[in-house]
């Protein structure tokens, strides 16, 4: 194209309408990735606390419940401030919709909130031990899906880089949650009692990085955003921070409190970066029509799908849906 030709009403582009995105950009604010982090940490911490309790590690148990409580406390504000109509946040519990991870997640968060408040409350104050004993397993059980439903929430959209990762993203978030819970407990707990926390932090961090790597690979072309612009930088940062933190804790976390704290901080930062990488990648993925049109057009060319358009003569009895 000569510059002359470019300087006009752009002639029809086979791939898009004036290069405009097909999908709308998500409208979510920065609170959301931070909630992903906080919620994940809270959920995993509840699990850690409960397990530690069973193991008789009462210091770790108490610290982990505190972490869970903190993570829980910041979650609703983060979610509510992201709403377009915050005063209507209660509508989140107006219905229960299995087709909406956000709906189910809201119920999980609500239930987890109740259970964790009782569990942690009784743990820290020593009051109502019976109620506490009852609430602890419930909180722990709910903590696990609380940590991973957010991955399902993203995967359940049309954003190619998110939906394409519906099988892998939950593991990225699980690993991250484990890492953040472990890291927080490592920081908060004395060297003596923190061994499980350190193992969880190191294992979680490695799992998160590994899962993210697998996810990007499995995404193929539509995974491109993870290597470009903001999402690219964040992904690299997340990997580096997680590995550095894990290494530091593994190497010196048992002897040096300082090293444990530093390692915990690195992993925490790494997990936050990972959540942000996923978040930003979604925006980049939605912004470029090629990620939307490309794979769909390819599907049709390959005959895996007939697509939504049909010329005269073509049969309108699709054999496609069955073959999926």
């Amino acid at each position: 194209m000569s510059p002359r030709e470019r300087a006009m009403v752009p002639r029809a582009d086979p791939q898009s309408y004036y290069g405009q995105p097909v999908l709308k950009q998500p409208v979510w604010a920065p609170e959301v990735p931070f909630y992903f982090f906080a919620g994940g940490m809270a959920g995993a911490s509840a699990g850690l606390a409960f397990a530690a309790g069973l193991r008789g590690n009462s210091e770790l148990e108490r610290r982990a419940w505190s972490v869970a409580l903190v993570g829980l406390a910041v979650s609703p504000p983060l979610l509510i401030s992201d709403l377009g109509r915050p005063e209507r946040f209660l509508n989140m519990l107006r219905m229960f919709k299995v087709s909406s991870p956000m709906s189910v997640g809201s119920w999980i968060l609500a239930a987890f909130g109740g259970a964790t408040t009782v569990a942690a409350g009784s743990e820290l104050t020593g009051l109502y031990p019976a109620a506490g004993a009852l609430a602890k397993p419930v909180a722990a059980a709910l903590g696990m899906p609380l940590a991973t439903y957010t991955a399902g929430l993203l995967a359940n959209t049309s954003v190619p880089v998110w939906h394409g990762a519906r099988h892998t993203l939950p593991f990225v978030f699980a690993g991250g949650s484990a890492a953040s819970a472990g890291a927080a407990a490592t920081i908060a707990t004395g060297l003596g009692s923190a061994a499980p926390a350190r193992r969880l932090a190191v294992g979680g961090a490695l799992a998160a990085v590994g899962a993210a790597f697998v996810m990007e690979r499995s995404l193929g072309e539509i995974g491109e955003p993870y290597h470009e612009q903001a999402a690219g930088k964040l992904t690299r940062a997340a990997g580096a921070l997680n590995l550095a933190g894990a290494a530091l804790i593994a190497a010196r976390g048992r002897r040096s409190r300082k090293a444990a704290i530093a390692g915990g901080a690195l992993i925490t930062a790494g997990v936050i970066a990972e959540r942000w990488a996923v978040f930003r990648a979604g925006f980049q993925s939605a912004a470029d029509p090629k990620y939307t049109v490309g794979p769909q057009r390819a599907r049709v060319e390959r005959g895996e799908s007939r697509g939504a358009a049909r010329r005269a003569g073509a049969s309108n009895v699709g054999s496609v849906s069955e073959s999926v």
Binding site: L93, R94, F96, S99
Partner: protein
């Protein structure tokens, strides 16, 4: 039917879900949605009108509530437009209710830099005086050959073509009687 909705199915959505487990249909319907009606139905009256833009002459239905126009849309009865309207015709309600529309008379004195307020009757009175004066000043009884002209060219009129036939008639009648000949219209342009 909307009445029936009010009586039944008004339990909290969560309970209504028992009959609509996925919560995608009726159970999600709010009370407002269940009783929704178009404003054309609750209008006080509808009058048939004609689009004021181009000369196709599309039929319009004008809906009025509390002495205010609340909706203008195509009149399906019209054999000319069959209820259809173009973007301008479809915007007619915005035109008649436009916030930019001037509702007050404005007066600008010679050499003034600002508008002033002036009431309708005074203004009409002032204009009448000016017409009479201009006419007296510029009256042409006859031309140089003494042939009668009986006219004034001191007053001119230019009308838009969105004036009614009856209005044009009255204007031409008045100005002709006043001897004003420079009476023109968009039709010339």
């Amino acid at each position: 039917m909307s009445f029936k909705h009010q009586l039944t199915g008004r339990a909290p959505a969560l309970l209504r879900q028992l009959r609509d487990p996925l919560g995608l249909g009726k159970s999600a319907q709010s009370k407002r949605s269940a009783t929704l009606t178009p404003r054309t139905k609750t209008a006080d009256r509808m009058v048939q009108s004609v689009c004021p833009y181009c000369a196709v002459g599309c039929g319009q239905r004008v809906y009025v509530k509390d002495e205010k126009v609340i909706q203008i849309e195509g009149d399906p009865d019209s054999p000319i437009s069959r209820g259809r309207l173009c973007p301008k015709g479809s915007a007619t309600e915005r035109y008649v209710n436009s916030p930019l529309r001037e509702m007050k008379l404005k007066y600008r004195r010679p050499y003034a830099t600002e508008w002033e307020e002036l009431d309708l009757d005074t203004a009409t009175d002032m204009i009448a005086d000016r017409v009479i004066a201009a006419r007296a000043e510029t009256w042409e009884h006859a031309n140089e050959d003494g042939l009668p002209l009986n006219r004034t060219r001191g007053i001119a009129f230019l009308g838009g073509a969105t004036l009614d036939t009856e209005e044009n008639y009255l204007i031409k009648k008045l100005f002709t009687a006043l001897g004003a000949v420079q009476i023109e219209n968009q039709a010339r342009i």
